[in-house]
Symmetry: C2
């Protein structure tokens, strides 16, 4: 099996300033196309450490992806280190120089002299197109393939998906590889693995991989076939099977978030939603409005952190709070109803719970959250219990609320 | 100069699931005590790759910090790999076993058999105390010092600050090292560097380092002296100088956040605050309630995303919106006043702006935000302009609002 190693280059990665999200992104993308990463390295902007890291990465793996250090300034040394590692000279490529000059001309600027260095690549290597000025580099040595990509995450991600992934798929024995991602919410990894039975078996084609990020489970369907249409067909077939097995657990494709699919569907249906939050205290509204254009479907939110606020702002009867407690099915429902009535929206969500670390009791422990969705025809209310800490409880409660609204919208 | 290398161990770091924030944290902490990190490695839970990474890290540096793989399950192999690397056996330490048994007994549980492995450490090595069950390990070999810490961030951070940092300070040539962190908000890194003049010169003692994380600038004062009282005195003196140079830019010490210092001061003064958010849409409330016990000073928040919501919920005159626009000084002020009146709090904050990417105009471009703080005696309103993207604008607007409230509280 082909394996990969990642070399991240940049002083900012060693000073504590920058979290190395590039490596994480590449690990996920490579695994999804069936290439596991066995090691990652981060080093500073100095030639010797870069050369040493490239050597070590080539010992570990068949494919090496380096990111960073391709800029035009003096501390960008990946180009030089790569040439030294390959034992060749840097060569000026006229076509690259023209491209960089065009990049500046298109912005009505003249190219600074120092950008000329970006038109140099090691003899025998190939350039990869970039949206910025720095071209990527691909070189082969002793049966290993080395890629050098920019460090700017947006440029790196795009170059990976447009140039590196297709190249790697070609390496896969002339096979066409198609990847589809199904996004799921509402069950854990192990439950989903059980539901899929032997579909997740290693060595199967399509290969089905599973990753989890804060409650969202992503299933990667990786289909390999002699040609693209065949691979597409295989991926399509598995997607259908997964969708029927997982039913309403599947909420989207690719990189979609819960807030995104909910927002798109509200827009499409011309529906609106109001929010009444207690323990999540603005987090649900924040997630919903992370999406540009949220004003289409979101107009009003209340954060009723005290009992008095619940009563005065949303008309939750004080008696209800007294009888059942602020954290109860009845109060969550009353909050949702109150918000929908005041905001005159199609839907409203009420959330009340105990985020902790204090405020819990034996009957109502820390982590207990009630979520209610009022759809006008009635309320659906759910009691949830989240373990872990305050931040986890708040995030999962907000995600669960979005998921309940999604199901109401029949996505 | 003593240098460090970091080895992060865990399959989740190579699958794209987990971003390696442990390495970033350790880089910052080590640099702050004058030990630069020259390389970081991430590998999976397998003995041979761990041993190889330890070897490589020892070639790169004098101090090696490994994290992860100290748990009780079969895939936790750091302990075994470390013993193999040191060329010694693992030994059961009775005092560690007792500690782990006490940990479970304190939770009215009996210790699972598999946790016994956590009481083993390599012959000749020392254990470091942990809040969880896994003790850390410190060993010396060929003039290099190796630390093995847990992978759980909270446990790792605590073990680093309580056990590793003091140990490393002792290594600093018998010198006592004292580190103080001053947290600042309201100016960029370069402005602050200019204000400090030659205090940030390399080689100076105390050494002053500067790191920036989403708007908050942290100044690390690293004082070295033959003894602790002297180092304390030097750090103290520099802290006073920095405080007088930076005046109200300094909001806290150590790891404090803006929301934390604001929350503590509101509690101390027995004051309350209400929030009226438009473009930040819950983010400010979320930040304020990230702090446990926020219900002491926060009871009501409104997210008035539409003009109608501003008018109906907060009493912002429709005429005012019409005359000045929803994104204006006047509307921000009216939102703050309305929220304070309805919630009957000591303070209220109103925020209205254009988070983008669309909705901007020539007069009111994307990134323009008005923030108003009503203190009862009057409103202070500020117009800000944030570049970058939607997420950046929303976060900086919320932080700026917290900072304005902090200044009103005379922190």
């Amino acid at each position: 099996m082909i394996k990969a190693s990642i070399v991240s280059i940049g002083n900012e990665l060693l000073s504590g300033e920058t979290v190395n999200t590039n490596a994480t992104h590449l690990c996920a993308e490579l695994l999804a196309i069936g290439i596991p990463v066995v090691s990652t390295y981060a080093i500073g902007d100095q030639i010797d450490p870069i050369v040493r890291a490239l050597e070590r990465a080539c010992t570990d793996a068949d494919i090496v992806l380096a990111t960073g250090g391709l800029g035009p300034t003096d501390d960008d040394l990946t180009r030089q280190a790569l040439a030294q590692f390959l034992g060749v000279e840097l060569q000026l490529r006229d076509e690259l120089l023209e491209k960089i000059q065009r990049f500046f001309a298109g912005r009505a600027l003249s190219m600074p002299e120092r950008n000329k260095i970006q038109a140099y690549i090691p003899a025998g290597a190939r350039a990869l197109a970039n949206i910025g000025t720095a071209p990527g580099i691909v070189a082969e040595v002793k049966g290993k393939i080395l890629f050098a990509l920019p460090g700017v995450p947006m440029e790196m991600k795009r170059m990976f998906s447009e140039s590196v992934a297709p190249e790697l798929k070609r390496q896969a024995g002339g096979q066409a590889v198609v990847v589809r991602k199904l996004r799921c919410f509402g069950a854990g990894e192990s439950t989903i693995a059980e539901m899929l039975g032997n579909m997740m078996q290693r060595g199967r084609n399509p290969l089905i991989n599973c990753t989890a990020t804060s409650g969202v489970i992503t299933l990667h369907i990786v289909a390999s076939a002699p040609n693209e249409p065949r691979a597409e067909q295989m991926a399509q077939k598995d997607e259908q099977t997964l969708r029927s097995l997982l039913a309403e657990l599947v909420f989207g494709m690719g990189e979609q978030t819960l807030a995104e699919v909910v927002g798109e569907e509200l827009t499409r249906q011309g529906k609106t939603v109001a929010l009444a939050e207690s323990c999540t205290a603005g987090l649900l509204a924040k997630l919903l409005t992370d999406i540009p254009g949220a004003s289409e479907y979101f107009t009003h939110g209340w954060i009723t952190y005290s009992d008095e606020a619940k009563t005065n702002e949303l008309g939750v009867p004080a008696l209800l709070v007294e009888q059942y407690g602020a954290v109860s099915e009845q109060v969550a429902e009353s909050m949702a109803r109150g918000a929908r009535k005041k905001a005159r929206t199609d839907f409203a969500i009420g959330i009340t719970g105990i985020a902790g670390p204090s405020g819990g009791s034996e009957q109502k422990p820390v982590g207990l959250v009630y979520i209610s969705v009022d759809s006008g025809t009635g309320c659906e209310t759910k009691g949830c219990f989240f373990t872990h800490d305050r931040g986890f409880t708040r995030l999962r409660a907000a995600q669960t609320a979005l998921n309940m609204l999604r199901l109401k919208l029949n996505i």
